[in-house]
Symmetry: C2
Subunit: 186 residues, 2 copies
C-alpha cells in the first residue's frame, strides 16, 4: 500500500463516516513557527452542520497551548500502515522532537488553517476552534471541521481503535443493515 | 453464543477499555414508571477518575427528557449478536413501544441507579449525570460511571461501530504494541 494515499475533497457534513466509528486520530497543530502532532482517542461527533467534533486534549500535552492559542488544528486519520508512528507519536513530546521529522511524516499545507495536514493519513480534517467553554473544566475543545480531504479508496480503511494497555482493535468487516432503516434515519 | 453473557464487577476507572474504541452503545433510562432504550454513536471518554463519559443525546429523542429529569442512565455495550436489535431500537420511538418487550431484551435491576441494565449486552455502565452545562447548547451530557458490569469473555467482543448510511464496521483483530509504550503511558 502506498504511504501517501491520493485524497479528494469530501463534504464536511459527512465526517461522521470516519470519526463516529471511534478511531485513534493524529491531531496536528502549528503556532509561532512550531508544528506538532499528538495521538488522540477521546473525541466525538457533535453535529452534522456545522460539522462539530469534540476532542479532549490534556493540558499536559505540548499541543494543548499550541491549539488553544492558534484556535486551529487538523484531525488526521491514520490506518494500520502507520501503527508504529501512532504509538511513537503518543510516547514522546513535541517539546523535545519535531514529530514530522522523527516519524517520517509529510507536513502538507492546509487550505483553511495554518496547521499542517499529515499527507500519509487516509483523511485529514481541517478544524477551527468553535467553542472553548469546557476547555478549562475538562480540556474539551469543540472544533468545527471547515475542510475535509479523504482518500476514496479503500472504502473501508483499516483504522486503529485504542483499548488502553498498549492494545489496538483494528477495524474489521463492514456490514450493512440499510434496508432496516427508516429513510429519515439514513 | 449465549444471549445473556455472565458479567462481573469491573473497575469504573477502566471503562475506556470498552468505550474508547468507539462502539455503538444502547443507552437505557427510566422515569416515572416508563423505561426506554436508545442507540447512541456520539460519545467519548473524558476522564479516568472520576470516570467521565460524554454523550450527545438529541432532544428529538424520547429518552432525552427521561435522562434529563432522572439525571441517570445505563450505557450498555452490544455486540454483533444484537445487530438487528441495535438497528430496530434506533428506528422506532419509545413514545410508541416498550423497546425491551419489542426487541426481546431483559431489563435487569441496576445497583446504583433506577435505569435498567440490558442483560444481553457484553457490558453495562451505570451512570449519573455529572454536568449538564452543555446540554442546552449541544445536547451533550457528561455522565459519571458509578458502577460497571462486564463479561470477562470474550476478551475482545465483536462490537459494532457505526459509519452512517446503515453500515457498521465490526471490531476486528486486536494488536499489541505494549512494548513500545513508556510505562507512564500505559
Amino acid at each position: 500500500m502506498s504511504r501517501a494515499p491520493r485524497r479528494q475533497d469530501f463534504p464536511v457534513a459527512q465526517v461522521r463516516r470516519y470519526l463516529e466509528p471511534g478511531p485513534i486520530v493524529l491531531v496536528s497543530s502549528a503556532w509561532q513557527g512550531q508544528r506538532n502532532i499528538m495521538t488522540v482517542g477521546w473525541h466525538l461527533v457533535m453535529e452534522f452542520s456545522p460539522s462539530l467534533v469534540g476532542c479532549v486534549i490534556s493540558s499536559a500535552n505540548h499541543s494543548f497551548e499550541m491549539i488553544r492559542r492558534s484556535r486551529e488544528c487538523v484531525i488526521n486519520l491514520p490506518t494500520t500502515v502507520l501503527t508504529d508512528q501512532v504509538v511513537g507519536i503518543g510516547n514522546c513530546s513535541g517539546a523535545e522532537v519535531d514529530k514530522f521529522e522523527s516519524f517520517g511524516l509529510t507536513a502538507q499545507t492546509a487550505h483553511q488553517v495554518q496547521a499542517p495536514l499529515i499527507r500519509e493519513c487516509h483523511a485529514s480534517f481541517e478544524c477551527r476552534l468553535h467553542d472553548d467553554a469546557l476547555v478549562k473544566r475538562y480540556n474539551l475543545f469543540v472544533f468545527e471541521v471547515v475542510k475535509a480531504h479523504v482518500a476514496p479508496s479503500p472504502k473501508h480503511p483499516r483504522t486503529l481503535h485504542y483499548t488502553g494497555d498498549g492494545v489496538f482493535m483494528v477495524a474489521g468487516q463492514a456490514i450493512s443493515r440499510r434496508s432496516m432503516f427508516r429513510p429519515g434515519m439514513l
